[in-house]
Structures are given as C-alpha cells and as structure tokens.
Symmetry: C4
Subunit: 345 residues, 4 copies
C-alpha cells in the first residue's frame, strides 16, 4: 500500500480535486453563501459521540435493510446530483452500474445528461428518479410517465429549491467551463418559458403528483417537524431530511441536527432518509441511531467518478459500506435492526 492509496472518502476528495477543472471542482464543493451549513453538516456529526456496546456476538455483520420495502445491501443510497457526465463519459449510467453492483439504490436526477431510459437500461439495481416539478404540468407528467416506463421504483421530489441556490464560490468561476446540456430534459415537451429558474412547488403539487402516479413519493429537503407532519398528513411514503448539501439556504440547520424532530413528527408514518455530510461509516451509524432508515451520499460519488469512473464509485461505496459494517461490529450492533437511539450519547 502506498501513501497515495485512498483509504477513506476524504482521500478520494483529495485525489479528485487535481483531476477536475477548477470550475467543476468549485461547483461541486460549493455551498450557499458563506458555506456555514456545509461546515455544520460535518461538525454536527462529529459532535455526536457513540456509545458502543461490547460482548455482543458480532461474528456476522449484516448491513442489509429495506428501503420502501425493497431489499438493499446497505442503508446507503446514491443521492441525486448533477455533474456525473462532466466527470465520466458514461455519466449517470456509470454511477447506476456501480450502485447496482453494490446492491444499493441509484437516484437519477431529472436533469441528467443521459436519459432516464438509458440509465434504466444500464442499471443493474433499483432506480429512483429525482424530480424537480416544472411550471408546466405536462412536462412534469411526461417525466413521471417516462420514469414509470423505465421501471423507476420511486419519485424523490425535491422541495427545497423554489429558487436555485446561490453558491458564491461557484459564481466566480462557473463561466470558465462549457457545461453540457441535459439529455434527459431534451426528451420532454418544450418549456413555455426559455428556461426555468428554481422549482416552485406546493402541497397542492404534492397531492397532484400523488394522484397521477402509483409510485411512492419521497419529499427531499424537509428540515422541520411542521413539514414532516404535513408530509405524513399528505400521505407521502418518505422524507429525505436534507439541506441540499448546504447548497440552498446558508445557515439552515445541519441535517443530522434536524433529523430527530422530523423522526418524532413523522417517523411512524413515513420512512425517513438523510443526506448532508455523510463521509464515514460512523456517520451512517449515527443517522440510523437517530431514526433514519438510510442515508444518501452525493459529493463522494462524484469524487469516485472523477478518480476512476464507475470503478471509483464502486470503491467509494465499498469503503463506506465496509466502514459501516466495521462500526456496527465495534459498537455491538450486528444488524441494522440493532441500531437504536442508545447508540449516540
């Protein structure tokens, strides 16, 4: 093993940076404004300490669980994100293959470079579609129908982006790169406006969406008990506690700090997921201890893609899953069901 061999996700980040165009690097690592929430997402995990149990039989560790009823190898999902195609020619198809090989869910972004049909064809595991609702309902509906036809198992509706987040860091460099078009959006009815900025969406839209599809719906971007209770009342199947990786409104609560109130308000009715700052297996353990069914990872997947394409994603996923298994063993929780609130102090 050489000094440069990546041992963890931070190593992947360090390896990825010099391989990227600076404008790409900036847009991926950027958070909104002063990036306080980006930093807090990490610090909040580090503030939680683990209470490990000993003398439990951990000879066999099983990270398998179910997400929306479907079996997965680990409580880790690919978060929807852009930029796959910038980092790897196969784009989201590459990521989907790595996710499938790892036995976990890929969440394809609606603005993907490759079409959802291509991604579904390449995928060898469960696929969810992230959706921004468009101002034009026929565009949104067309996307839903395509997702259904492509075999997607769930719709992840992003609800925290009624405006595009302002990432000061990236605004300084974003014009230095020639960004590719979204191939997936090209397959939709043309927009009524030259482009849309942000995705205004309300509870009425959630109800509309529930009415036009049988796919389970998850709301991504919920950070309060109030909205969690509303989500449960509106009958959605899941919630992703998320601050969009700190990329929307700077200063909002760290995801892991918001998780307990969401779980308390809606955990009996919905499955609760979390993204934002997950970098270590112990972070996954902490999120599950506080009531998450699984976590999503975003940026680390892109580090993997940048370093070694789908093989890099595979290693990133394997590192995180192995770290989780290791953390489960060393905290005396051999199965996902053994992880409860007493894990964190």
């Amino acid at each position: 093993m050489t000094a440069a061999a990546p041992l963890n996700l931070f190593d992947y980040e360090a390896l990825a940076q010099p391989l990227m165009h600076p404008a790409v690097w900036d847009v991926i690592v950027a958070g909104a404004a002063d990036e306080i929430t980006v930093a807090e997402n990490r610090r909040a995990f580090d503030r939680l300490t683990i209470r490990p149990r000993m003398l439990v039989d951990v000879s066999a560790i099983d990270t398998a669980t179910r997400v929306l009823g479907a079996p997965v190898a680990a409580p880790i999902l690919i978060a929807p994100s852009g930029y796959h195609a910038v980092l790897c020619p196969e784009g989201e198809c590459a990521t989907a293959q790595a996710a499938g090989r790892a036995g976990i869910v890929m969440t394809a972004p609606s603005g993907s470079h490759r079409t959802i049909e291509d991604i579904a064809a390449a995928a060898i595991g469960p696929l969810w579609l992230q959706l921004y609702l468009f101002p034009e309902r026929e565009r949104s509906l067309a996307m839903v129908r395509r997702a259904e036809a492509a075999g997607c198992l769930a719709i992840v509706l992003t609800v925290d982006a009624p405006r595009f987040g302002r990432k000061d860091r990236s605004l300084r460099s974003e014009n230095d790169f020639d960004w590719p078009e979204s191939g997936n959006l090209a397959g939709l009815p043309p927009p009524t406006l030259p482009w849309f900025r942000g995705a205004p969406v309300t509870w009425a839209d959630v109800d509309w969406l529930s009415g036009v599809t049988r796919l389970p719906i998850l709301l991504k971007g919920i950070l309060t008990a109030e909205d969690a209770a509303l989500a449960a009342a509106h009958g959605v199947e899941g919630i992703v506690v998320s601050n969009h990786g700190g990329r929307q409104l700077d200063g909002v609560t760290a995801s892991i700090d918001a998780l307990p109130e969401v779980v308390a308000a809606a955990g009996d009715h919905c499955e609760i997921y979390l993204d934002g700052g997950v970098r270590r297996g112990t972070d996954v353990l902490k999120a599950l201890a506080l009531g998450a069914r699984a976590v999503m990872i975003g940026r680390p997947v892109l580090w993997g893609l940048a370093v070694a394409g789908p093989a890099g994603v595979a290693v990133v996923l394997a590192i995180l899953a192995n770290e989780l298994a290791f953390a489960m063993a060393l905290s005396g929780r051999p199965t996902i069901a053994d992880i409860d609130r007493t894990v964190v102090r």
Copy 2:
C-alpha cells in the same frame, strides 16, 4: 462575471479597504478595546440556525413592510454613521439618494458633513434624524426644529454614548488624517464648551424631547429588558437594539442576543429595530424572526460609498434586499408577516 465582481457585502468590504486611507479604514472597522463585541455581533448571528419551511407558494416574494407606519420596500434602514463625506464628495446626500431609490429609510447623523437641509433636499425617500443630545438644550432644540422643518419623519436618539467609545485600533492612527468638519453642527447655536465629549442623556431628557416635538422618537442603544420596559413606560415609539457596532463598551452582549429580552419587555408597545453585524439576508431574516421590525446597516453602506459612491450604496442595498427575498423564498416565508419565531431554532 469576473473574479473581482462583488457578490456579497463581504466582497464590498474587501474592495473598499484598499481604496481608503488607512486611518479612515481603521476608524470605520474599529470596535472598542479588544473588539470582542464586534466579533460577537457576527458570531451570534452565525450561531442561530434557520428552520426553513417547504412547499409554500413562494412564487411572489414581498419584502415590503412599514416602519413607524410608513411603507418601505424592505425591512432595512441606513444606520446613522459618520464618514460619508470622507468617502464620497456628496456625503450623506449621496447615501440618502441611494436609500430613496431603494425605497428605504435614510437615517442622517446629527454630526453630518452636509446639513440636514441639504440631505433632505437631495433625499427622494423617507428621512430620519439621529440625534445626540447636547449639554445645551437650545442646541438640541434647534436641531429638532431643523429636522422637523426639513421633513424628517422620526428622531433616533442615541442613548449609548454618554462617553465617546474608545477604539484602540483607531486611536493609533486617527491623527494621520485631516478629518472634515461637520457642516450640520455649524448651523446650530454655538456650544458653551469648546467641544463636548459624549452625550450625557437621561430619561428626563427623553421626556423633555417628547414634550418639544411631535416626531416619533426611537431610542438607539438599548440592550436590556429593564431599559426596554422603561422606554415603553416613557412612551417612545421605537427602540433600536444596538451596541453601536461594538464601538462603545467592549464586552456588551451581541445585538441579536439581546433582542429577545427587549422584544419580550417592550415589543407590545414599541417597534423594535436592531443593528450590529447584519451582513447577509439571512441575518435580516433571523432578526425579524426574533421580533425586530427592521434592521439598520452601517459599515456596509460605507463600503458601498467607498467603492462606487451612491451607485455602490445602491448595489449594497440591492444585494442585501435580494438576499433577504431569496432567504424568504427558501425558508418558505413569502411576506414579512410570515416571518415568526419558528424561523430560528
């Protein structure tokens, strides 16, 4: 957009510094003594985290509100401060014009370079006058009468400066610059002492002032529930929770930390304002969440003046108002009335 284009108020600060004489820079950024309160004013904002609501209709955001009954475009006012004329030949007239174009209130300092009459003539929006009470009541009264005649809508009585604050940073360099005289004070009856240092003022003076003018009075510099209750009992219309930008007594509570007790003590009787450390739209949001009707900004206005005169002030004000609108959209509070205590954690 080039790397140097200012995206936020911190960028303006960075752009302004090299354009200023070091002694001017020092006196503007200086806080009292060890500048602990200056730093705390910012840190206290950053410690507060935002609880954003989702799925609210934020297609239209309205930052408009009323201050002392008058409509304004945003809950942001120009704080009274010196140094306008050092940074821009038109001095306070330039600032007043930028404020008026932005639809907000300009608070002219009583020690302004340009006379209040000149400022009022240049102003295209509402004007308030900041007042230091002089030891000689005829001087104070003359200033009040001039403010009334000039059409000022309120008197902001500074109550936290019975002594001039000692700014160690500035004391080292203040004699390196030839400071201009106050043109406005020249229009007053001559002082009985060669100069006054600090403005001793008591509740009896507040009552006297209330008795001689029909203009609403705001007390600027209140930081405790005790004084807030007294302010309400003495019938003033408003309170500005302020530590004078950390420039008077080092070690006093950060403005935003003092706000809740002032609101609890007097919020039913007075309008509560706040200054001190406001640099981001999310800071405005947090202050309103904790009960402020509006905030005042001081130093950032001077950065704008230094960089591009009234046009610079206009951009500073536009950035902050836009950030506020953006924060309202992303926190699910489309109008000022929607901002309540639940916004902050």
Copy 3:
C-alpha cells in the same frame, strides 16, 4: 537543567519521535479513522476544572492505594500495549522491571514479544495479563494457565476489539517496517486458522473464563452504563473504562466522559479503572474524583522506553506519580481516600 530536559510526559513524546522509525511512530500515535476520539480523550480532561481545597494538612502526601486488594504505590498502572520490543531489546521485561521499581502493576499484553514466563521472571512487582480471547478455547485456556503459573494476579480481558481497529494514519506506513513476531503466542497451541483478525468475545465467553480460572477478571473497553451493569451481573471484579486509546472505533465517547455512567452503574460491585489520554497528574486526580480506582497509561510508557529504555519508563512513571502527589497537595487531598466527587467542578 537544559532546555531539552524532559519535564513532563509531553516532553517525552517530543523526545521520542525522532528516535523512532516513522512507521513505529505512526502506529503508536495513531487513532482510528480521523482520530477524533484520540483528541477528545485529551480535550475532555481539559474541560474538567479542579476545585482545590486549602488549609488542609498536606505535609505528608500518600499516593498509595490498593488495586484488587493489592497495595500499590500509586493509582497508576501500565496499560497493556504492543511495541515494547520494537523500542527496547528487553521489551516487556524492561517495562515490567520499571513498573515494579515504581511499585505499580504491569499489565502484560498477551501478544507480547517476550513470553509471559520471561516477563514474570523479570518482574519485581505485581503482574496482570491482558487477554484477547482466541477463537480456539484451548489456546485461550493455555494462556490463562500460563498466566496463573507465572503468578499473574489478574486477567484483563479486552472486550472492545471484535475487529482490529483501522488506523488510517498507520495503514499508510505499516509496511515500511519489519515487525517482530510475538514470542508469547508462539508458546500456544497452533491456531486453527492462519491468523485471526480481531477477538470476537461475548458474555458467554466471560462466563466461561470465570469458570476456568480463580484469577479476578477485568473487562477492558466498557464505555456504557448498560455494559457496566452487565459486567457487575456477570460477577467480574473490575472494569477498565477505555476506548483503546481512540484506536478502535473513532467517534466513541472520551473515556473520562464515559466514566461517570459506568461508576454509577457498577461502582458498587466492581473496581473501575480508566485509560485514554492520561498525561498529567491532574488527569489522574480527575479520574479518581469521578470514581476510578486507578488509571492506566499506554503511549507515555512507550515514549519512556524509546528515550531511555527501562530508565526512561521509570522517569515517566516518576513524573506522573510526582505530579499526582503535587496535585493532591495543591488540591488539599493528602490521601487517595480524600479524593472525591467534589474535586471536579
């Protein structure tokens, strides 16, 4: 006294580093993953403040106490650790001699370079044996029997290592050094697997061990009240509150922060020990104040060995014991029995 003369254990660390092969240094100082727990072990001590009592007769300070009934000169024990032989040809024998001269207990690691018989022969004070249970019970039993025959007074069963800790820092350099074999394990029945990784051990194993030996048993690695209560219920004589020097699962609670709940749950039934971050006499004082009977030190013993062999260990032990005596004098607790919960704030 020259500037380089070591005054405290931190000085020993600084002196030791340049004397070691970098791979040896790395493996000794390393903690798991991001070394958060390593840092917390120290910070948690520093967060505790001492409440010293004055005007007590401290003309005679007595650090003597009993561990498992045996008199010792100070509440300090040698923690089990590897690497003695890498730093000093006499290996664990050297350390045992230094410990004996200091009147304290040496805990020999089961994977020692020198055999337990050699260590016992060299020892001039009480000897405990640390044990990793092997998958093969005959190997474990053989080790217990050898410990009994060699005169060991207790078995310290490590329970926090069902997997070997992953020390990212050390993984980068561990292959740069030719590590010596364990001479002690060579004296055991051959393993049924080429090597074992980690020591899976359960409460059933604890019961088995209790049944096969009359030696008192201490469980090392307990960090929760739940496990402490179980330990008491299973009848063990002692608990070592430990996170393995931060080398097993990163993010677990600092030892000193976990101590109070363990003491509350089991302090009436077991003797409670602590290791992790002890570097100053005041750290020993704090641990005893919170209910520990004694502390164990690991890495500082290795700094002593590296700097001056057994003489270095002797100085390290003397410094720490002297600092404890000094802290007892200056906090008005002349005997170990005088140290109670009121010592820490």
Copy 4:
C-alpha cells in the same frame, strides 16, 4: 500619539517583553504545567457579557470604594508578587509609591527584596502585607510584628501554596539569571531548615495568626464554597478568590468562575476580593458585578515597572482605573454601589 504609545495593559505587556531578560519574562508570564488555567482566567472574563443600562445620569463617575473600611480611589489593589526589584532598582518601594499616588492599596510580598520597613517608609498610601507562614512560628510572628510596626493595615495570608507551583515554562530557563536575595526575609530569625519549599498552612495556623495579631486577615487562594464557609466560620475579614495567576495547580477553575460560589457562601461575612486575569476595566466591572469588593492585579504592575519604573506603574494603574470609570459610565453605573448582579448576563 505614535503607534507605539501604550493604550492598554496588553500594550504594556508587549512593550515590557523585549526589555526583560528572557528568564525573567518566562518566570513572570509562566503558569503551572500547560498553562490552561492562565488562559482560562482570561477566557472566562471574555465569556461573560455585559448588560449596560442607558439614560442614567453618568455625568459624574466615582470609582471610590472602601477596602476593609479604608477609603480607596478605585476597587483595584496591587497583588503581592515577586520580581519588583529585578525590574526596577527601587523594587517594591517604587510600586508602593505608585500605588499610593493612585490612591490604592499596595500589598507587599513577604519575600520582598526591600524590607517591609523600607517599603512602609516609601509608601504614601495604605499598605498590606502578604504572608507565607513559615514552618517556624517565631519567624512568622516576627514578620507579623514587623508588619504591625510598619503600619500595615492587613495581613494577606497565602493559602494556596503548600508546595511551590511548578512552572514548566520557567523551569527551562530559571537558571539563566542571577536572582537577587530577599532583603526582607533576611531580617527574620534564621530558618531551622536550609530552605523551605512551599508553605504548609492549616486552619489551626489561621486561628493562631488571628490570635497573635489584631490586624484583619485575608485568605488568598480560596476557590470553593466549602473553604469560603470555613473562612467565615474562622472569622477572617476577607477572602481573595485566586488561583495564584494560574501558577500553582494547572486546571483549577478560573478565578472569575469560582467567584459566585465563594460570594454565595461567605459574602455576608467577609469581603471578597479576586485576582487572576484582570486586564481591562470591564474585567473589574464584571468581578464587582459578581460580588467582589475589589480586584488585585499582579503581572500588569510588573509590565509597568519594566517599561518605566514607578511612572510605568502609575500609568498602568491610571489606564485600568480610567477604563473602569469608562465602563461604569457606559454601563450606567456611576458609583461602585450601583454595580450589581444584573451587570452581567
């Protein structure tokens, strides 16, 4: 005013350092061990925030108060300390003159270079004598009798030094300087041992001392409610809450953090003083708010001596007293009697 003109006590420290032999600097700034308590003494002050009252008549500020019944110009005393003679040929006589001119109390150390008789002759204000009790009572009694004869008004018995503090920083350099002998101790009966290290002293000694002198006795070094209650029960007139400037036992509570419990336990029976970290007028204000009658300053006096002899001490005292007056004015507490618990948050 030039950049180098000292504005505050930190400036004096910076000016003093290059004027001193490094070993002298080291011994003065040194704290015990890792100097955690030294740092905490300052940080604890900075953590307290001030709640200033406005619109109070502060046209006249009066810092005058009484210490043990005697009028003083400000609630600031010279703490007993060594090293005066190293920094200024007149030694403690110079400091006593500066203190007297400032209208405050000088506390002469029993190990002074100049004799207490010389100091008393030079003094132009009230003098207290700090006392370390010697193992030989006749030596202690001789010192008390000399203090009485010299007109000292109180005995400050140091109770936190049953051992000399170990200052790691200073131990590295202390032999690089030729330290002067104590002239004052030379006037005592010879010790029965070649030298004593530390001053073991118990409550019986306090009672003995009370019995042999009519001078009021203050116990310096109390940090707990328990000892404060005992002090009151033993009838002493005063307590100095002190950790010896962080120079005795590292890790003990910051003085200002220990003050409230001491005041609660003994404030009705004794006058409570404080030293440790006082550098700003606001620190004095905070200490008085929490119940101290006055503060003592140690190291800053030595900076003043080093920079300009007695004139330097005079400036240091004037800066601190002026800062206090300024802080009283800006916090709306024109007299010492107006400073109460509501000053600090």
